[in-house]
């Protein structure tokens, strides 16, 4: 399966940004859903943008080609420049699907596959959502908190632009308007637990909104609710968690962290602002190498926080120096397991082995009632653009980049939430203790 060479990779990203702009422009035009034709065209452009990255990720996709290859001729006709790459991608994908399917292929088949950006815009999608979908699939917006805030902000725009059709009420109809938007975001990248929780809360607010309220007032009230949710569950919660976690960092401590959690970053910067003298070990790993971003922000404060940087295999040599491990999370499940960036589980496991306390920093809105037994059942694959140097896939070789893993509750010492420090297994009792029926 061809992986873009460095030059073609840059060309690809250029064409993607171009396609992105194109898609946005078109989406804006057709906002009044006047032109069905324009929409079709946009689908095609989306497909072209998609197919150029198809060739990088195609190998992991097994069921894709049939439906798509039917459409490819039309796409090729619409822009002859993109045609060669399109065909190349299609051929490669077909070649793969013909190849022998090993058991390995089958056991990985349920992983969330990286989506082609702008791929298939179905129905009436708000331009803000189209833009967000592209940002998600391009990993421009990445991280549970950032994605949740971006989604809610986009939904505010959608709600403000929404007009209740005649013979309908807002509380009944708005949700049917939002559903395709949500579906579009999910096709861009699998939904995060945070987004799921926030959307559930939003649905509750919508269905509960007063029928007699004037439409604009109802929309304003909903937007206010969204703002409140972001403020209470994320922003203020983060501040409380910072306060709690900072107390655990003492002068002279060595704090070890993995990749980049926005919350851990804030905690470390807060501790630094409180004049605590500590040093940080940042452990990082492919595919995303997010630790470098953390390193930039930790060293750009004055005076810079002393940092050590190493890749995951070097962890055993460094864990002995650490006094505390701070980790972030994508979501926290009912059995206490933590779904987080791939590699977190190994950091927690090794820290436990060396009796280093592991503090997981996580807002309560990241809780999920589902149970997660291992990181294999549910996972997502990073797009191939994050591994440009990896060897090309062929019939025997597959390059997989899982994004998440699941840490068992036994490896976590405590979870720092805005309601205090709790053991990971008792998260399911928190909503109850707070008198909420939902998370």
């Amino acid at each position: 399966m061809p992986v873009p060479e460095p030059e073609s990779a840059s060309a690809e990203s250029q064409s993607l940004t171009k396609a992105q702009k194109k898609a946005e422009g078109r989406a804006r035009q057709e906002q009044q859903r006047a032109a069905k034709a324009a929409q079709k065209q946009q689908q095609q452009s989306g497909q072209n943008a998609g197919s150029s990255s198809n060739k990088s990720k195609g190998s992991t996709v097994q069921k894709k080609p049939a439906s798509e290859s039917n459409k490819i001729p039309s796409a090729a006709a619409s822009s002859s420049k993109d045609a060669p790459t399109t065909r190349e991608g299609a051929v490669g994908a077909d070649g793969l699907s013909d190849g022998p399917k090993s058991r390995g292929l089958r056991i990985f088949s349920h992983f969330g596959l990286p989506k082609t950006p702008g791929h298939q815009i179905k129905g009436d999608i708000h331009p803000a959502i189209v833009k967000l979908g592209l940002q998600f699939s391009e990993f421009k917006i990445c991280g549970a908190n950032a994605r949740c805030i971006a989604t809610l902000t986009a939904f505010k725009t959608v709600i403000q632009d929404y007009v209740t059709p005649p013979h309908n009420t807002l509380s009944r109809h708005l949700m049917t308007h939002l559903s395709p938007q949500i579906t579009h975001l999910v096709t861009a990248r699998p939904m995060s637990v945070t987004m799921g929780n926030a959307i559930r809360q939003l649905k509750l607010e919508i269905s509960g909104s007063d029928i007699d309220l004037p439409e604009q007032d109802a929309k304003d009230a909903l937007c206010q609710e969204i703002d409140n949710y972001i403020r209470d569950r994320i922003i203020i919660a983060d501040e409380v968690i910072e306060d709690l976690a900072v107390k655990k960092i003492k002068d002279g401590d060595v704090v070890l962290t993995y990749a980049r959690s926005s919350l851990v970053e804030k905690i470390l910067l807060r501790a630094h602002a409180l004049n605590k003298r500590f040093s940080v070990i940042v452990i990082d790993s492919r595919p995303l190498l997010e630790g470098k971003t953390l390193l930039h922000s930790l060293t750009s404060v004055i005076p810079p926080i002393p940092c050590t940087y190493a890749l995951l295999p070097a962890l055993p040599s460094l864990i002995t120096d650490a006094d505390i491990v701070l980790l972030g999370a994508h979501s926290l499940h009912a059995n206490g397991s933590v779904y987080s960036r791939a590699g977190t589980a190994m950091v927690a496991m090794l820290a436990k082995e060396h009796s280093v306390p592991v503090m997981l920093c996580c807002e309560t809105y990241k809780f999920s009632e589902t149970v997660m037994l291992d990181g294999f059942g549910k996972n997502e694959l990073a797009p191939m653009k994050f591994s440009p140097d990896a060897p090309k896939s062929n019939s025997n070789l597959e390059v997989l980049n899982p994004l998440y893993d699941s840490t068992p509750a036994s490896c976590i010492t405590a979870v720092v939430t805005e309601v205090g420090l709790i053991p990971p297994t008792s998260i399911s009792s928190i909503p109850l203790a707070l008198g909420r029926t939902t998370l």
């Binding site: 595919p287 055993p316 140097d389 893993d405």
Partner: protein
């Protein structure tokens, strides 16, 4: 000895190897073992000695220089010890003293390796002629013993040459159909082991790419070119995938006397993750990696550090002067994390 032209020549090849070891131009247990053996053969063939002690001292001093050059390449010391052992063995058989090899112990096995089966070749005439410290003809001792010693060194050579074949001989007993094997880094031993098993079995290998050397990528290419269904994953997903892995197969850098081992960094993570899922960990290693040493540094196996630019390259200019970057070569894996050693 320095004035002796022959020993000066010896000195030169020894120095050459020393500098290559020190500059890390020569890495890998088997490569260093082979090079050491070549140097020792040269040294023995050119050395002038009139009794066994002189010979042993020469070999010892050469060995010490080589070991000091790169103390983490344990196979250098192992090879020197093995050659010394064979020299003594030959000397004893030549001296009509039946070598006291009747008792076998694990310690002896670890120290000396497999007992040589052809150890009792020397003919009766050489026995008669063997005289130490003959004042009339000081070279007679060397003249008689050298051919036997060369043969002994050749045996060690042969063992090194065939090490991969011998290890992979019973690969099919360890890998079964439809298994999922996890391995990491680039190890020639593991590579040949898996390829040998692929002749008999249909199985899947997951290779962790082992940053920052990315030896796993090389390994994945090599395995997939042999027709093995291969998955290349980042190191971070070892734990996530471990629940589906049937066996972890690792290569070793050196196996220590307590049963622990030095291996490519990342091995400890994989072995610990395997332990938490109760997945067996199999180590493939040639006997020349068995080392009669203990890891004095215990957890801190990585006293050998690599080039930090592989971890954080100079593209990240503004970070480079503010951040410590750690890139260890090896992990120390404790014996309780390992299940099986497969040797030749």
């Amino acid at each position: 000895m320095a004035s002796d032209p022959q020993s000066a020549a010896n000195q030169r090849i020894v120095e050459d190897l020393v500098s290559r070891l020190r500059r890390r131009q020569l890495v890998g247990s088997r490569a260093t073992a082979l090079e050491t053996l070549l140097v020792l053969r040269q040294v023995v063939s050119k050395a002038r000695f009139s009794n066994i002690d002189q010979l042993v001292n020469i070999i010892r001093s050469v060995g010490r220089r080589l070991v000091d050059a790169q103390p983490k390449e344990h196979s250098v010391g192992n090879t020197v010890r093995k050659v010394l052992h064979h020299i003594r063995e030959e000397y004893h058989t030549a001296n009509e003293q039946p070598a006291a090899e009747s008792s076998f112990s694990i310690a002896k096995f670890v120290l000396q390796g497999q007992p040589r089966k052809q150890a009792t070749i020397p003919s009766s005439e050489s026995r008669v002629l063997l005289k130490e410290n003959d004042p009339d003809d000081p070279d007679s001792f060397a003249r008689v013993l050298k051919p036997v010693l060369m043969e002994a060194i050749q045996d060690v050579f042969d063992e090194l040459e065939t090490v991969y074949d011998n290890i992979s001989k019973n690969a099919k007993d360890h890998i079964h159909s439809d298994e999922i094997i996890l391995t990491l880094g680039m190890s020639k031993t593991v590579d040949s082991f898996l390829k040998a098993a692929a002749h008999y079995r249909n199985y899947t290998v997951i290779v962790a790419e082992t940053a920052p050397s990315y030896g796993g990528r090389e390994m994945a290419k090599s395995l997939s070119s042999a027709g093995i269904s291969t998955f290349l994953v980042p190191d971070s997903s070892i734990y996530a995938l471990m629940s589906r892995v049937n066996k972890v197969i690792l290569g070793a850098h050196a196996i220590l006397a307590n049963g622990g081992m030095f291996a490519t960094s990342g091995s400890l993570l994989a072995a610990t993750a395997a332990r938490s899922y109760s997945t067996p960990v199999v180590v493939c290693a040639g006997q020349f990696k068995l080392t009669p040493l203990w890891n004095l540094y215990h957890e801190y196996g990585a006293l050998d550090f690599g080039d930090p630019s592989a971890v954080l390259c100079f593209d990240e200019g503004d970070l480079v002067d503010k951040v410590d970057v750690v890139n260890p070569y090896y992990d120390y894996v404790r014996p309780e994390l390992l299940d099986v050693f497969i040797t030749n």
